[in-house]
Symmetry: C2
């Protein structure tokens, strides 16, 4: 957009919004316009909320989750099962598992997957802290809840090797047909895995 | 998401982001996570930009545009052709025409279209100020650049009737095949209009 049409403050807002996942340049303009039209209801509250989140959010020193307190709400929840540790790649995966209420265990956020081509080796992930947690005796089971991608599975194998000396039970999420999924649309790998892990009906 | 997983500041940020056009609850969570991961690069600048925009943006008292000054940059640009006035429904349409560099005239933002069922009558739109501008003698042509929807065309007819007594020339945008468009995918109305308004090649 030519510089003359909107002031630099608006231009800056559009530019920052366009860097959000899911918003391109066009939808960022639309979002900025929507915000400015609802200045009192949306733009000012968003400015405050963003400032408050920026001031209060930190990385949990125990598990790597993002929260407004440290240790995070999950780590400091006394009702959680301290014997189960769910290893995830990313905070978004932790949120997804929490939404699904899939576990009452605690989490460990790796912060990514092993990806040598991108320069991400074991030292770039939260692996040493995982090793420390696995060795403190409280944890009985580590569930590898990583993505079913090549990188995720590589990372899962690395973690399994790393934890080989400990007496922690290591499990991974089941592969199979997604609930609501249609067989015709599933890939061969998923179908083969679902067939192999079939269960009594 | 259960209240326990993320703090209220994060919850509030997600909730506000989910009200942006183009972002649903899921993508709002993803956007919030992305912002928090890049706190220094994205979340804090966004908080500042939103606060600055909220503090500086106002509606132009002349044309209804949103800008950081009043009159807006378009209205106060001396190089603009003061004899041409482009009537648009919304600020987004003004921006679109400016991006396309479609005109060197000035604008008048109606702020919507006539829609009796939604309670939007002539008094809810910036029509009286349009009448005043049309009568001040400087404007020779008013271009109705409203959407080619039923509401847009109804509004265009209303504006034409309203301006009938003035000696301003009233025009509207051409209907036709969009540049890059394929005939097979166009609706009948567009094809008929394009045929009717065919031009020498």
């Amino acid at each position: 957009m030519p510089q003359s049409v909107v002031g630099p403050e608006i231009e800056r807002l559009i530019q920052l919004l366009s860097r959000l996942p899911g918003l391109g340049p066009r939808s960022a303009r639309r979002a900025a316009l929507h915000l400015m039209k609802k200045k009192d209801l949306l733009l000012e509250p968003l400015a405050r909320a963003a400032a408050e989140a920026a001031a209060s959010v930190s990385v949990c020193s125990v598990c790597g989750n993002l929260d407004t307190r440290d240790p995070c709400s999950v780590c400091s929840d006394p009702l959680r099962d301290a014997s189960v540790l769910v290893v995830v790649e990313d905070v978004g995966d932790l949120w997804a598992l929490e939404r699904a209420m899939a576990t009452r265990g605690r989490y460990h956020v790796l912060g990514g997957t092993l990806s040598p081509l991108d320069g991400i080796g074991p030292d770039q992930l939260n692996l040493s802290s995982l090793m420390h947690r696995a060795q403190d005796g409280e944890i009985k089971e580590i569930i590898l809840a990583v993505n079913a991608t090549v990188e995720g599975q590589t990372t899962a194998h690395y973690v399994t090797d790393m934890l080989a000396g400990t007496d922690v039970r290591i499990t991974r999420l089941a592969h199979g047909v997604p609930v609501g999924g249609e067989l015709d649309y599933l890939d061969d790998g998923t179908l083969a895995a679902a067939m192999k892990s079939r269960t009594p009906f």
